[in-house]
Amino acid sequence: MLASLLIVFREVIEAGLIVGIVLAATKGVAGRAIWVGYGIAGGVAGAGLVAAFAGRIAASFQGSGQEVFDASILLLAVLMLTWHNVWMAGHGRAMARDMKQVGAQVAAGERPMAALAVVVGVAVLREGSEVVLFLYGIASQGGATTTGMLAGGAAGLAAGAATSALIYFGLLAIPAGRLFSVTSGLITLLAAGMAAQAILFIQQGGYFEYLTRTVWDTSRVLSQDSIIGRMLHTLVGYSDAPNGAQLLAYAATVLTIVALTRLERRRPHSGAVSRPA
């Protein structure tokens, strides 16, 4: 029971951290709960499908189907996060200013919400499919321990959700004026970490076997197995032994998002959002 509690907790917390950041980043956006709800529901449904077809997915692409699939959805999430940050660079400052007088800008906030719903969906799908496979394996074995294991899974789900809520409320403690720059920064690192993870899957699939050598190893300082290591892995892409390609992907993602948001900020915007600073 403890084993299943831990596994489910670990997966839920990884998806939950991302949901927490998305919720904090969209504070004050009308209808955000519905979008995040779509993301979670879509992710859960997708997780079931992925688990059901795990064998068939894995067998595609000459046995590298799972890696191709994981890399693709991660890169999709990276694109969506980039889109969100660029959009926020154009509209975010005005939005923060107008937080009190909720109006047109906030309604316009629905645009990156679709992107963020996709990100939530991807996060839930990835972690969820592992939970489904794990619990299905237990359930199909039957026996007296099954009930205990499933109860453990439920407890893990609750504990993971509670921890994610803590992260969310922790982020909300940041003053409103600063919240958007903090969440934009977090989203940039989140995207970079996902890009680095995607490269790892591409290498695992046998498609880009360059720069596979470990550049440094900090597993003795902070193991990626520890709860803090895992949380940092999800949040900012912490890896205790990154390889060269991962580091390049990480740096390239950060640089791209920073460059695009700067360009967007300089571009004059039409409508209510353009005001003298």
Binding site: G63, S64, Q66, F134, G137, E209, Y210, S223, S239
Partner: protein
């Protein structure tokens, strides 16, 4: 950027690419998972070159080959095969496990 920085970057990239590009493939390694146990549970690979493990899951349920030391998470469905690619490893011990049955499914890769 000034030329010196470019040169440093170029050198760094070369240092990173060169060793993996020069490495040759070693013999394929086979592992079977049965009754949630790896057989063999101890695998020896050559250090500093990439290698490949073919994992056959002889159980009916899916298993995830999971190793934070090897940086691998790979789901292999029940009755299916999966290829696990190992990066060039520094000499040492790299434990792995089947995440869904970690009490019994334990193994280690030894790079030497």
């Amino acid at each position: 950027m000034n030329p010196r920085i470019w040169l440093t970057c170029a050198t760094l990239v070369w240092l990173l690419v060169a060793p993996s590009a020069m490495a040759g493939d070693s013999a394929p390694i086979e592992i079977t998972l049965k009754d949630h146990k790896f057989l063999p549970a101890e695998i020896h690979v050559k250090a500093n070159v990439p290698s490949e493990i073919t994992l056959t899951n002889a159980d009916t349920t899916a298993e995830e080959f999971d190793s934070s030391a090897l940086k691998i998470e790979k789901v292999v469905a029940g009755g299916a095969k999966g290829i696990v690619r190992l990066r060039p490893l520094a000499p040492g011990r790299y434990p792995f496990m089947g995440e869904y049955h970690s009490e019994t499914a334990q193994g280690v890769v030894i790079a030497e």
